[in-house]
Amino acid sequence: MSGPRRRRHRLVLVIPYLWTVAAVPAINLVHASPLGVPLLLWWAMAGVLVCTGSIAVVWRIDNARAEAGR
């Protein structure tokens, strides 16, 4: 299999940047505090999970590919 196709799943790692950086100006326009906690704080904490989740997905695919290639 060629290199670029093997690596395409790595694009998942762009999602955390969209969540924690690009979306912030829009989220900041909303003045809401679900359960008393500011939305921006909810968003930033969810961002931690988005980062971990994205890395986990890529890690699993990388691992599966490494096993298959062996």
Binding site: P4, R7, P16, V24, G36, L41, M45, C51, T52, W59
Partner: protein
């Protein structure tokens, strides 16, 4: 008060003494042992080692201080480490591999191997050392903050800074990286315990009515804290500032000489990647720290120094023995990561700045490394005495410096055309932009974007242009950063 001081002293002495003893038993300290722990750390030890570096004074005191002073702008901190590991998932295995294949022990070693230029390694090392100084200043500010609050006015700032500096040097010299990994484990248990205990009880103890009560009271008293630009709009912590700070700290995240070096001590690139999956979760504990900062704002308002927010609220509402545990933890939190930073500072100067071409005995370089460490702490102590900056601002200054080697290192792992003159020109221009106060003032008058990120952008453009006009390094140098089999060329169909 004596109870608190006694408990704090016991925790610090037992942890540092015990871990140093464990680490040194039957081991001779060699240059390689001192610097990268013999390249044999497994992933569990690496996890604690990395946690010790991330959860510094910056997290413990700085984040609480910014929640106290500004509110929402401090939330940017949550993205710092997780996004660092997103970048790291791609970046770190490449660096580890260069280290593994080419006997690279430090960042400057890598630059030298990748470009074949000793002077460029020296330049990158120098930028790293310069940026480490405000980082060590962060730790010293934290130590001094804890000591002054603990001794409640009877110890002035100069004495507190001196004691802090002495503690740093003693702990650093008793052993190297391995002992710091052990101390990091003890420290993490304590810091998590203290933070959760304070988080769970501070609302009730301060009469605010639990955690929900803290948020209710805060929304009533300071409605502007929930959204950017936060409680002090004049400080211009706008959404643009927020995003640009995250990006700047992301580019600088792995550029710290000590982070680079810790990564080299991993046992495999698999360990690094697995670590990248688990590590970000730890960041969620910032929520506890923010809540403690908010509680402090309601319970002990009008502090002259927001760095003291967390310690002050504990001092005011908790029993003596607990104040002692918290103070001891705070001291460990500052000591443990500083050790790693100071060791890196020492090895970097000893190997890459001090007569790098000369064939000197190992003991000679070890001595130079130790002397440099003393000088580094002295300079940081001097700067701490004259500064009233918040811990978070100090770290942003450090990041705006270290991020300037980011374009060079990152492109050297991805773009074959990157040249030594390109990296040198880009990083020098970047450092000049963040270092000249007039530039920062001018930039702040036209945009709230972090000046460090603006400098990184200019740095990258200069790097690319100069690289295109100068000759690329030789093939075997390029292969250090971009190994042959790593090229994404299609494999020929016929074999």
């Amino acid at each position: 008060m004596t109870v608190a001081i006694g408990v704090a002293l016991f925790i610090v002495a037992a942890t540092t003494g015990g871990t140093t003893y464990l680490a040194r038993r039957g081991r001779r300290v060699t240059m390689s042992e001192w610097a990268v722990g013999g390249r044999s750390f497994g992933s569990i030890l690496l996890w604690f080692l990395s946690a010790g570096e991330i959860y510094t004074t910056f997290a413990f005191l700085g984040a609480a201080g910014w929640a106290y002073a500004y509110g929402a702008p401090g939330f940017y901190i949550l993205a710092n480490a997780p996004l660092g590991y997103v970048l790291g998932y791609w970046l770190l295995p490449k660096i580890w591999r260069a280290g593994h294949d080419h006997n690279v022990m430090s960042q400057a070693d890598y630059v030298r191997a990748r470009f074949g230029r000793r002077w460029l390694a020296g330049l990158v090392a120098l930028i790293g050392v310069l940026a480490l100084i405000p980082y060590i200043q962060v730790q010293l500010t934290g130590l001094a903050t804890i000591l002054t609050v603990m001794f409640h006015g009877s110890v002035g700032k100069p004495v507190a800074v001196l004691i802090g500096a002495a503690l740093l040097l003693v702990f650093t010299f008793t052993a190297g990286l391995r002992s710091s990994a052990f101390a990091s484990m003890v420290k993490d248990v304590f810091v998590v315990g203290v933070v959760i205990a304070v988080f769970a009880t501070v609302g009730t103890l301060a009469g605010l009515g639990g955690i929900g009560g803290i948020f209710r009271h805060l929304a009533a008293a300071h409605p502007s804290y929930t959204n950017l630009p936060g409680m002090q709009p004049d400080a211009h912590y706008t959404p643009w500032w927020f995003c640009s700070s995250i990006l700047m700290t992301n580019i600088g995240y792995w550029m710290w000489p000590h982070s680079f070096q810790a990564n080299l001590s991993a046992s495999s690139d698999r360990a690094i990647r697995r670590n990248a999956v688990l590590q970000p979760i730890y960041t969620l504990s910032y929520f506890f720290i923010f809540v403690i900062g908010f509680a402090a704002l309601l319970a002990v308002p009008h502090l002259t120094d927001s760095n003291t927010a967390l310690v002050s609220v504990i001092y005011r509402y908790f029993p003596q023995w607990f104040v002692g545990i918290a103070a001891g933890t705070g001291i460990l939190v500052a000591l443990v990561p500083s050790t790693v930073m100071l060791l890196t500072l020492g090895t970097t100067v000893a190997r890459n700045i001090y007569r790098p071409a000369a064939d000197l005995p190992d003991r000679h370089r070890l001595l130079v490394g130790r002397l440099t460490t003393v000088v580094g702490v002295a300079v940081a102590a001097y700067l701490t005495l004259g500064s009233s900056s918040t811990i978070v601002s100090l770290l942003l200054v450090a990041y705006s410096g270290i991020a300037q080697i980011g374009p060079g290192i990152i492109l050297s792992l991805a773009w074959r055309r990157t040249t030594s003159y390109g990296v040198a020109a880009g990083s020098v221009v970047g450092i000049a932009l963040v270092g000249v106060p007039q530039v920062s003032t001018w930039w702040a008058s036209i945009s709230s974007i972090e000046v460090g990120l603006f400098a990184v952008a200019v740095n990258t453009v200069v790097l690319v242009l100069v690289s295109l006009c100068t000759r690329a390094p030789q093939e075997h140098h390029i292969a250090v950063g971009i190994p042959r089999d790593d090229l994404t060329r299609p494999v020929p169909a016929t074999t």
